[in-house]
Symmetry: C2
Subunit: 139 residues, 2 copies
């Protein structure tokens, strides 16, 4: 759990004015490490905030991603997820329950790849898919 005042500072340092909506969305993404979609964030916050627009959630999350405060995950074809943890790690998505799990990696992503001379790499994502331990036990 991170203090609101700390989160506020992070936004300001990134050049983002901490409006009520932005701070609430930022707090949600940094506190809940469940890799939520914009829609999930919207549903979770519309009560807390008097009014909230889904458009605002989309715009704000995009703002955070562009500022490097939040990671965008495209592990699912049909919708985008967001990850408040911007450190380098892999993701697993369970085909059965849909849950997304963080995984530690042994080396930097780029150390795994050959032939990168001349490329400027800005982003790297390792996505694994299959069946998670919990779903596997159920079968």
């Amino acid at each position: 759990m991170i203090a609101r005042s700390e989160l506020k500072k992070e936004l300001i340092n990134a050049g983002i004015r901490p409006s009520v909506q932005r701070l609430a969305i930022y707090e949600y993404v940094k506190t809940n490490r469940t890799h939520p979609t914009a829609d999930v964030v919207y549903d979770a916050l519309r009560d807390e905030l008097g009014s909230l627009s889904l458009t605002t959630v989309y715009n704000t999350l995009k703002l955070f991603v562009d500022a490097g405060l939040v990671q965008l995950l495209s592990i699912d074809d049909t919708f985008r997820c967001f990850d408040g943890d911007t450190t380098s790690h892999a993701h697993f998505r369970c085909d059965s329950c849909g849950k997304i799990v963080d995984l530690k990696i042994k080396n930097d992503f780029l150390a795994m790849v050959d032939g990168l001379d001349g490329f400027e790499i800005k982003e790297a994502q390792l996505y694994l898919k299959g069946i998670c331990p919990i779903c596997k036990r159920k079968n």
Copy 2:
């Protein structure tokens, strides 16, 4: 370049009846390693085949992916690409020109990740994004 008769056999072995449309789509994806979208395949083949439906291209590519003959790439948020090469390799997508490039990997993907006990992994994708050497030179 692979012979049509060979491609036909591959489809039959996978339990897929090699209709005119399916064979043409399969040949396109196995010959052109440009990671095309369904729409690109459709545009490329609609002349060759007298008539072709975009729906057929979507359905057929999905059929190939489910049969393990073709890889589905979700490296771009807004559309899906297909890769006739099903061997394990990474992909780079240039933010400037949009081109997708194949990259060799040093180890198996799973050797890079910790804490996979109990997980059943069916698929692994490493996506890199940034600026490709050609676009870098242009700037």
